[in-house]
């Protein structure tokens, strides 16, 4: 890291910090952490290239404090997931947007109810939620706008995957998150929408959010991200951090 880069990094606050984290041995397809240390600063976009057999779902849940590592410490915005202050933990999670690669919806609710649920639960006013959803729907749906709007009235089972994926994006960014956790977020997203989605990532990063982005497929690797893009790798199914940004001097 250059001196300039170091100075810029020092000014920005870390959003997510993993210190010497070792994860429990999960399923064979999962990515493991072995004494892993890495940080995501405000405005960082960290992209992790996945192999076809990788499933980062457990790892992302670990980052969210839904699992306990064998060793080490995970901190979000300076606070860890330890202790029994569950109210604080849920409050912390409300500031994190997540896109799932599978099983992303509560099946007994409509897509619209799913999108509103977390914000209502955290006390956001109904009119504010409607405004936010309207704004992000218009921004992210492109030519699918009417289909996305219609999908809000249906249960997830009856909505096509590309539309559901757009709705996942709306849900993830609606609550002005500090951290975005992406598990293959561009799956099912048609190419004509890529620019709009990338602009959203850059905009949120500019506002101080950071992104941990597990990606597979070459399309995702070649998107023109303007934010500070760092790549982490998964050699031998073990996550390794890299501090050097790809697109910044």
């Amino acid at each position: 890291m250059s001196a300039n880069e170091q100075a810029v990094t020092n000014k920005r606050k870390p959003v997510l910090e993993l210190s010497d984290v070792t994860s429990a041995i999960g399923e064979a397809k999962s990515i493991r952490l072995s004494n892993f240390t890495g940080q995501l600063f405000e405005g960082d976009v960290v992209q992790v290239r996945l192999g076809a057999h990788h499933d980062p779902r457990d790892l992302l849940s670990l980052v969210l404090g839904l699992g306990t590592p064998l060793a080490g410490r995970i901190q979000f915005a300076g606070k860890d997931w330890l202790g029994r202050n569950y109210r604080q933990h849920y409050q912390m999670r409300s500031q994190i947007g997540r896109i799932f690669a599978s099983a992303a919806w509560v099946q007994s609710l409509t897509v619209g109810e799913n999108i509103r649920l977390a914000q209502l639960h955290h006390g956001v006013g109904a009119s504010i939620i409607t405004d936010r959803i309207t704004y992000w729907t218009e921004r992210l749906s492109g030519r699918h706008l009417s289909t996305v709007r219609r999908s809000f009235a249906h249960r997830p089972t009856f909505v096509d995957d590309p539309i559901l994926q757009i709705c996942q994006w709306i849900r993830a960014v609606c609550n002005q998150p500090k951290l975005l956790l992406f598990d293959r977020p561009f799956r099912f997203i048609t190419q004509d929408l890529h620019l709009a989605f990338v602009s959203v990532i850059d905009e949120l990063a500019n506002k101080g959010a950071s992104v941990l982005w597990f990606s597979s497929g070459h399309e995702e690797f070649h998107l023109q991200i303007e934010s500070r893009l760092v790549q982490w790798s998964v050699p031998g199914d073990v996550l390794q951090a890299c501090e050097v940004p790809l697109n910044h001097e």
């Binding site: 992302l60 409050q91 999670r93 997540r98 919806w105 509560v106 649920l117």
Partner: protein, 225 residues
């Protein structure tokens, strides 16, 4: 509200059917024994009313709610857990205890309480009607119900409330906890469904028996303390 509708309102016809059958069996049997043993209905009425209000109605309400809703709740939560839906909620900072478990336990308790009232009333009415039609009950209806209402006291309410609320709470909590504690694959869901009913029923019987022991201070005919 959805839970209340499902657990409480939708269970009313089932509860009334069960209560009607039980009422007929109980009151007709009692009337036959009154004649056989030469007892007066005034002696039997409080005994019948108390056994209905203090024991049978709360127990029957618990059986109906567990059978109709408890197993469904356990299965639903187990399916949500194994399908990753609870993880989705957790990830968004939604506490499943507040969003999923508490409303179900509360609706369970409320349903058992309300259904037990409906069951008690239905048992008495249908028992009287059938007994009167079969000519085993010769008391006019207004005297019969006057006898029943005369025999109601505050103690009955304490028994009734505690048996419905506590046993209902236990049963609801067991159904939810069993459902939400599933780990792993969807193949575990049928196992949970069968386990939920048995465990909740066991809890209801045990809690009911313990409360009776506490209230009466007796274990069967043996006085405690």
């Amino acid at each position: 509200m959805r839970q209340l509708l499902f657990t409480s309102v939708d269970s009313v016809p089932t509860s009334m059917r069960f209560a009607a059958t039980f009422g007929v069996l109980l009151i007709v049997q009692a009337a036959i024994w009154i004649d056989t043993m030469g007892m007066s209905p005034e002696v039997m009425a409080p005994m019948l009313w108390r056994s209905i209000v203090r024991e049978i109605a709360p127990l029957l309400a618990c059986l109906v709610v567990i059978g109709r809703s408890g197993v469904a709740i356990g299965t639903e939560l187990a399916t949500m857990k194994s399908g990753g839906e609870i993880e989705v909620m957790d990830s968004q900072g939604i506490d499943p205890m507040i969003y999923l478990v508490m409303p179900r336990i509360l609706s369970f308790v409320f349903s058992v309480f309300c259904l037990a009232i409906i069951i008690a009333v239905t048992m008495v009415i249908t028992g009287f009607m059938v007994g009167w039609l079969m000519d085993v009950i010769n008391t006019p209806w207004h005297e019969f119900f006057a006898d029943v209402s005369r025999n109601m006291n505050f103690e009955d309410f304490v028994f009734f409330a505690s048996k419905t609320l506590i046993a209902g709470g236990f049963a609801g909590a067991i159904c939810c906890i069993e459902g939400i504690s599933v780990r792993g694959a969807i193949t575990e869901v049928p196992l949970v469904s069968s386990r939920v009913g048995i465990r909740a029923l066991t809890a209801v019987f045990v809690v009911s028996a313990l409360l009776s022991i506490v209230f009466y201070g007796k274990l069967l005919v043996f006085k405690i303390g």
